[in-house]
């Protein structure tokens, strides 16, 4: 028979465990301490970078402990789950009791408790209890939402209270935490976060997912019509602006200029301006100097085009543009690549870095070719996200702020005034309690007493 009782007891003790504030303190402090790790070790870097920084051995150990993506590790998520279970169980555990206290229509009160209050105030008035009753009642009614007066053997007793519902404050905050964690979960299961770079004038229909070498197909197309960056005099960027058009089934359906802090929100997908860069140029203006005659010629060439060189030297084709070309293993930055075909002799590959106009001199050819100018084409860097959890999280934010305010600054206040007829006058007692900020309540009672004395 005894065995049968074990399961409920066992469950009960688990339930108790999850309802304690000890667990809350332990989990909150554990979260605080472990969160530090991820701020000291940069997250989601390449293995090579980690081995460089920590050495092979530590890299293995840290890897096993998920320190390189710790906020998504099983143990960190477990702490979050513990927190959630804790907050839910505690609320379920206590809520019925609190609700019973909060939902009473006619709150009970006991004058004796107030009489024994060490901080009660007392004074004597010349007026009779009946006269005082009217004055005091209307005064207290203005300050306390609930007020009732009961006659006693030789006088009366007034009871007022307000803010009973603020006892729910902690539950409001705890509810908001459930919203936040649930919203976060929604986002991580059904949402995505990615980026895409689009050269001006081009269209894409998929993006790269962050932290994963994986593309994500969109069900619409994004075109970057135009990109502009402006700078302050100091050289710091002032504004990035992309003109974006969204196409569905080949038809433009939405068009907007986006800047940082002002994204496109289209069908639950957000498109943010986040970076930019320069992309393949397609036309270059060449400066061609002949060593023999010393003359300068200027020619405009498109990529893929072939032109005739001056002074009958041969032909030149512009092959491609590269953002960081290598020359003998060194990065020489933005460059054009071309092929020179002299009238007599073999084709020669020519590198024309935009930053070093004299570079082609090294070749010691009959002509020195350099890039005078080229049409730079920008690409815009967009962040593309989808997070169906956001509304839930935002509701959580609002509930949390309201709940914190209620919990921290509002209290359930009760006041009791007792007036007893004595010979020729009345004796008045004022006492009050609050479930929070007791010092503040004492001061309030003092003030109310002074006010009442003035009125009588």
């Amino acid at each position: 028979m005894e065995k049968k009782e074990t399961p409920p007891n066992f469950l009960k003790s688990i339930w108790r465990f999850f309802a304690t504030v000890k667990l809350t303190v332990a989990v909150l402090l554990s979260l605080a301490v472990t969160s530090v790790i991820g701020t000291v070790i940069p997250q989601n870097q390449s293995s090579a970078a980690y081995i460089d920084a920590f050495g092979e051995k530590l890299f293995r150990i840290f890897g096993l402990l998920n320190f390189f993506d710790m906020y998504h590790s099983w143990w960190f998520q477990l702490l979050l789950i513990l927190l959630t279970v804790n907050v839910i169980v505690c609320s379920l555990d206590r809520f019925p009791v609190i609700w019973k206290i909060v939902s009473v229509k006619n709150p009970p009160f006991n004058v004796r408790n107030f009489r024994s209050d060490a901080k009660k105030q007392e004074f004597v008035s010349k007026k009779s209890p009946n006269v005082l009753r009217k004055i005091y009642e209307s005064f207290i009614r203005q300050k306390f939402r609930y007020c009732r007066v009961e006659g006693t053997d030789n006088g009366w007793c007034l009871f007022g209270e307000k803010g009973r519902w603020t006892r729910l404050g902690a539950y409001i905050v705890h509810l908001s935490i459930i919203f936040l964690l649930f919203g976060g979960l929604l986002g991580s299961v059904f949402g995505f976060e990615g980026y895409v770079n689009i050269p001006e004038g081009e269209t894409v229909d998929s993006i790269w997912l962050n932290n994963r070498q994986e593309r994500h197909q969109l069900d619409f197309e994004i075109r970057c019509e135009d990109f502009d960056v402006s700078f302050y005099e100091s050289g710091a960027p002032k504004e990035y602006r992309s003109l974006i058009t969204i196409f569905e089934e080949g038809q433009p359906v939405f068009k907007k200029n986006i800047v940082v802090n002002d994204p496109i929100r289209f069908k639950g997908i957000n498109i943010f301006q986040s970076s930019y860069g320069t992309d393949a140029a397609d036309t270059a203006t060449l400066d061609i100097t002949s060593r023999k005659s010393g003359l300068d010629y200027i020619k405009k060439v498109k990529i893929g085009e072939t032109i005739e060189l001056p002074e009958g030297i041969g032909m030149f084709s512009l092959k491609k543009y590269s953002r960081n070309a290598l020359f003998r293993g060194h990065d020489i930055g933005e460059s054009f690549l071309g092929i020179l075909r002299p009238k007599d002799g073999n084709p020669i590959e020519v590198i024309l870095p935009t930053r070093f106009p004299g570079f082609d001199k090294m070749r010691k050819g009959e002509l020195i070719i350099s890039i005078r100018d080229y049409d730079k084409r920008y690409y815009t860097g967009l962040q593309v996200t989808h997070d169906p959890g956001v509304p839930v999280v935002y509701i959580g934010f609002i509930i949390m702020i309201l709940g914190c305010f209620v919990t921290l600054f509002m209290s359930h206040q009760r006041i009791c005034i007792e007036t007893i007829k004595t010979e020729e006058n009345s004796r008045v007692m004022v006492a009050g309690t609050a479930n929070k900020n007791k010092l503040g309540m004492q001061q309030k009672i003092k003030k109310i007493t002074e006010n009442l004395q003035d009125h009588s």
Partner: protein, 279 residues
């Protein structure tokens, strides 16, 4: 006079106020404390004037924005909020000895802003990510919270050095009652906690409007959450387990260490949080 000159002057005024408060406490000269209050008030007015003037100057330079966009500006604002909150506390509690532990913090904040070679006090144009009204809401709420925590820290230090005993004589005997210190610490922390919560939330909303994610575990975000966890622990320990006195004072000091690290230390860590970086 330009804003930099006013703010430099404010630094001196705060220094004087701090000196007066400490002097009044150590040498039991009440009159010094009373003068200290007026000097602190003057400092606050100068501080506010400096901020407003700097705001105007930024518009005259054609890059108008609220002066809350870099470390210098935030420290200046921090000093002002500490002073405002302290003056309110002084008014409510009628005790000037707390000033000896609060106003020096305001002085340190603005002195560090003005004097550190690492901090640029030029009015800089806003980079694109900072062009958001959420930035203002975020900085204002965060720093009101930090200022309340700073004063709570000062009060906790008072509690600790007093050692929880009642003393008859000496400098320490003039510190306020343990009960008052304990209550004041908690009041300030509740106030700070509301604003810290607001600060984290406005930060999250801003991040969502600028980058499309409300939380990214970047070091600054994470450290603000760590701070929140510490103070949240304190609130539960007090409300549910009845912690008082020394234990609350220690948690309050720990919390403020987390605030300081969120504010300055994070810049030493790898990662990016453009706002608040040195420079």
């Amino acid at each position: 006079m330009n804003s930099s000159a006013i703010l430099s002057l404010t630094t001196l005024v705060y220094g004087l106020a701090a000196f007066l408060y400490i002097f009044a406490w150590v040498f039991k000269k009440e009159i010094a404390g009373r003068v200290g209050t007026w000097v602190a008030f003057l400092g606050m007015v100068g501080n506010l004037a400096g901020i407003i003037l700097r705001w105007i100057e930024s518009y005259q330079m054609g890059i108008g924005h609220a002066p809350l966009s870099n470390l210098y500006e935030s420290l200046v604002f921090f000093a002002m909020t500490i002073t405002v909150i302290y003056l309110v506390v002084e008014h409510k509690y009628g005790n000037r000895i707390i000033g000896a532990f609060a106003i020096p913090l305001a002085f340190l904040a603005i002195a560090y802003a003005s004097l550190s070679p690492n901090i640029n006090d030029k009015i800089q144009p806003l980079i694109p990510a900072l062009k958001s009204n959420w930035l203002i809401a975020h900085v204002v709420t965060c720093f009101i919270g930090y200022a309340a925590f700073a004063i709570a820290f000062g009060v906790s230090i008072m509690y600790i050095i007093k050692g929880g005993t009642i003393r008859e004589e000496g400098v320490l005997s003039r510190l306020p009652d343990n009960k008052v210190l304990d209550e004041l610490t908690y009041q300030l922390i509740m106030f700070g906690f509301l604003f810290l919560t607001g600060g984290i939330i406005t930060g999250a909303v801003w991040a969502n409007s600028a980058w499309g994610r409300y939380w990214g575990w970047d070091p600054k975000e994470t450290w603000s959450l760590i701070t929140w966890f510490v103070y949240s622990t304190l609130i539960h320990a007090r409300m549910m387990r009845g912690w008082h006195g020394k234990r609350i004072a220690f948690l309050s000091i720990l919390g403020f260490m987390a605030v300081i690290f969120t504010y300055f230390g994070v810049n030493l860590l790898p990662g990016l949080h453009s706002y608040g970086a040195m420079g």
